[in-house]
Symmetry: C2
Subunit: 349 residues, 2 copies
């Protein structure tokens, strides 16, 4: 990852800009160059390899992110995205405000040709079964053709990042039968089945999966709208942390349990890391001309460092180029480019 520069927005994190700066320092120590946009006087001491650009203005909490991104060129997230657009950096990482990052990216980096909507794709912290879930929050509302394209985007990502040759792709639904789900899912199911049959090795459409199939390894890629995906991602994190917490509590409940917990701890250490929500570093923002990564606003410095490293690995692996090629090869790009590719997406928020 030598020679890769990541533009990072320090605003928007729940723990404040200094936590993001600390994460940038950890990533810089791993060889990534970081351009850090945020309030210089709130970033604390900054590590070598991190270059600060004073950008105190934040639109992370703006109720209308698209309007804010357009009218606030000095905002840290807009400047970070701008650095990617004009080639000073290779990819951007937001401080955690999805809406602001997506708005700034749509406005300054633009969608890639033939892409309906960008989507947030995240590797899920499932022990033993790497699963890619998308969309986890870029589009609260989608149309069937968006879900179809997300399926191909996710498959391309699984191929490029995880080396899965013919990714098994599923639609998330409330039943496995093709006629289950909302009209959106039903239509997407029919369209995707038709497209997948002609797409050769690009993907293997395995139909609908239910919530519990996600963790059972029934598919390599699970496709859903950004509302359901966001609820699902956060719920997974909540449940795994709650179960681990309950086990920890019970392992303190008696001397016998304490002794057992102490003996078991080394064996469980790897598992805790495997299901740590901060481990994956957040979600890739796919479908733009350059790469973005959106971590959770609640991440600590560890999560932000992972987000920056995720972005750097994505640049090294040319995720944007290879995903786009894969979409093109599968015939999954839309035929005509939109009239105005910088038009705001109505569901960004």
């Amino acid at each position: 990852m030598a020679g890769v520069t990541i533009a990072v927005d320090a605003n928007g994190a729940d723990l404040g800009p200094a936590e993001v700066a600390a994460g940038a320092g950890i990533a810089a120590a791993r060889g990534v160059r970081v351009l850090l946009f945020g309030p210089a006087d709130e970033l604390g001491e900054v590590a070598e390899g991190v270059e600060v650009v004073d950008a105190p203005v934040s639109i992370a909490k703006a109720p209308e992110p698209m309007a804010a991104a357009r009218s606030t060129p000095q905002a840290s997230v807009v400047q970070a995205v701008e650095a990617v657009a004009d080639g000073r950096a290779d990819a951007f990482v937001s401080g955690g405000a999805t809406g602001a990052a997506l708005a700034a990216a749509l406005f300054r980096v633009k969608r890639a040709t033939g892409i309906h909507r960008p989507a947030l794709a995240t590797p899920l912290p499932v022990p033993g079964h790497p699963v890619t879930l998308l969309d986890v929050g870029a589009n609260a509302e989608v149309r069937p053709e968006h879900l179809v394209q997300f399926a191909f985007m996710g498959a391309a990502l699984a191929r490029v990042v995880l080396g899965v040759e013919r990714p098994r792709v599923a639609l998330l639904s409330n039943g496995e039968e093709a006629q289950r789900g909302t009209p959106l899912v039903q239509e997407a199911h029919a369209a995707l089945a038709q497209r997948a049959a002609r797409a050769g090795d690009a993907l293997d459409f395995v139909g609908n999966v239910e919530g519990d199939d996600i963790t059972a390894g029934a598919a390599d890629v699970v496709v859903t709208d950004g509302f359901t995906g966001n609820v699902a991602l956060k719920l997974m994190e909540g449940v795994s942390q709650t179960v681990l917490g309950a086990i920890r509590d019970r392992a303190m409940a008696s001397p016998r349990a304490k002794a057992g917990g102490a003996l078991l701890r080394p064996a469980l250490r790897g598992l805790r890391d495997e299901i740590d929500p901060e481990g994956p570093g957040g979600a890739y923002l796919l479908g733009l001309r350059r790469l973005g990564v959106v971590p959770h606003g609640r991440f600590t410095r560890y999560g932000f460092s992972q987000a920056i490293l995720l972005a750097a690995r994505g640049v090294s692996g040319d995720i944007v180029g290879r995903t786009h090629q894969a979409l093109e090869a599968a015939g999954a790009l839309r035929a005509r480019p939109p009239v105005d590719r910088s038009a705001p997406s109505p569901t960004v928020h």
Copy 2:
């Protein structure tokens, strides 16, 4: 629960009618009388307290449950619901096919006066925080006023079943701010905020919650559409079972870990029961003139016995009557009854 009779449909369970019959036997041993509708020659030996009505016809897999319920009076689920409608039983339990049970119930038991749509409400297997989630699958698509009524239905249930005085009710969304979510959630948010302000102690509307807030105890009742709720419920089960399974695997990985696991096991036994998806017994089908319980089709006999006991407790506690009174007191019933209350709900499937 003496004197309570539950009508049980033995068809539709993944493990077959005999598994449901075995569950009925367990419940009968706890004092519940069971009328069991299913294929008599596939039920195995039936315990005392269980009366079999031979009903081999199943519509559990019918692609159009509403049409099947109307045209197949001999179907086991229709007969079970009929037994409740004509007073031979106090509540019904389905063998696991939600669509067929809902269709039969709408057709034979009918909606209660002033109810837009029945909803499936389930106590979630969250350690330490009893949370009621609805709808978990009766309505894949809803309108804002349905979610508002679900909020009051869930609050009434939490009050009656869990004794929560002023239940904290939340809408499930992809962000906590009032403007987050789909247009459906945004409209429901505004409408519920207005209604809750006038509803006194019926409920305390705490706004939107995200996926991970469900397990964090942020609300006593979480309201969502049946698509999202079904995905969420199954995902929770999948994640908790996956985490427990991963811990079990790791506790077998070395002699040291094995010794630790053995010492810890008794302390974890209660937890395993607490997060067992079969523990709650399934979901209450609320909003009908009589009570129904819908377990998962994948349950074992233990889960079906829990479902029957859940139904029996619901009858003893007069959940239908008390929930309806609570909705009436809160002004949450719709003003005029529908023209034809037996009209099929278009989203039942």
